[in-house]
Symmetry: C2
Subunit: 249 residues, 2 copies
């Protein structure tokens, strides 16, 4: 499994992903699921992947190869004129990769090898944008009403995102919120694991404003993980108490 | 979908279930998923169900019919000498009900009509016990390490249970914790809905210590739901702040 979140804020984009892949619980590895490409001063693109690892690695390899072939307009992440076209291109590639593998496996391939992608980025002169690309190749864009996307093991970490997210929040608060959301997920599901990758893309910066890997011994993540339990319990005790004799009885 | 939680505490057992059933999002109904039977002073049993509604209703109807036939030892919830035998009996019934429906539908029936059951209760002279019964008819029992069971849409509400549960907590705190867990789930998933059913079974009471339905206009649930958002945000802001320049950079 996997857990990745991409968020749109007033100030820009924030992405976090875990790095655990597993095939069964006894075959666990660490693989990067977050990738980014930039053309300084002009565009910054980032991608996070969830799903079949062979599929997502093939998609990323194709993307990187195309970048290296100069002059191939419309084929390259770094040449497409809009984020919409970048999303269209990645969707086409994702769908083709999945389909090829499914077809090669006939009946046994049905419904397998799927993956999905979160794409975030900004191209000069346009807004920062965030997309969720489905295995079918189509995609949706984050909006005012749905300002973040999760892929993979999304449920455990969702309630705190719903309640903590605020479009106007600082990058620092957004990172804190993501750490809490990831911590809740890590505590509940073995298939999501440290280290985590973090990427912050400030609006109109066209570069990785802040990028790092959060490892097992990260003192900030440890602090969040241990104090969140205490703070949650405090929050819980601050709620009004239930009474067997109140209410409608 | 469905969300049900059963908990073992030092003081006894606490159960909560939602009442929404849906077949697609455009066909939503309210059905009770929690049932209980008692023999005052001797035993108290409660069951919560998740899964195919026709299956779970059939199981409950069989159980109720058997109770009405006097003298059928070993067949009746109210006669079996141990909770283990009650669980075995319900497991057998659940599996038979599912299998009958699957077989009647041949190939199209495969993997369908499944359901699972949480069984809680106490028989005089023995401990209060809690079981999770699978569609296959086998079951597991709650233990010191895993003192609560969830069925249905379990993920959204799990992080707060993991962090808030304490075996020694009062019934009132357990109800509060369940309300928070249900509120997080309701906020994230349309297929879990109010009203909720609540049942508290005090150790050695052999009766429903406290049973009620929590409806849309329940003032306590409304208070929990609205203050939990505020308290969560306070808890979040009480956490140490992230800094781009701290840590390993």
């Amino acid at each position: 499994m996997t857990y990745c979140v991409g968020m749109v804020l007033d100030k820009g984009l924030v992405l976090m992903s875990d790095t655990r892949t597993n095939s069964g619980v006894d075959n666990i590895s660490v693989f990067r699921k977050m990738f980014h490409w930039q053309k300084p001063g002009e565009r910054m693109l980032a991608v996070m992947t969830a799903g079949n690892l062979a599929t997502t690695q093939a998609v990323i390899s194709y993307l990187e190869e195309r970048i290296k072939v100069p002059g191939e307009r419309h084929n390259s992440l770094l040449e497409a004129p809009t984020m919409f076209q970048v999303a269209t291109e990645i969707g086409r590639l994702l769908r083709a990769t999945i389909e090829e593998r499914q077809e090669a496996n006939g009946d046994r391939g049905r419904g397998r090898f799927t993956a999905s992608v979160v794409l975030a980025g900004q191209i000069k002169g346009m807004e920062p944008r965030l997309f969720l690309i489905y295995p079918e190749g189509n995609f949706i864009e984050a909006s005012f009403d749905t300002p973040f996307f999760q892929i993979g093991e999304t449920k455990y970490g969702r309630p705190i995102l719903i309640r903590g997210y605020d479009r106007a929040m600082s990058f620092e608060d957004a990172v804190k919120l993501l750490m809490v959301s990831f911590d809740s997920t890590l505590k509940a599901n073995l298939s999501v694991g440290l280290p985590l990758d973090l990427l912050v893309i400030a609006r109109d910066g066209f570069e990785a404003t802040h990028a790092r890997r959060i490892t097992h011994d990260d003192p900030y993540f440890e602090a969040i993980s241990s104090s969140w339990g205490d703070e949650l319990r405090k929050a819980f005790h601050a709620l009004p108490d239930y009474s067997f004799y109140g209410g409608d009885e």
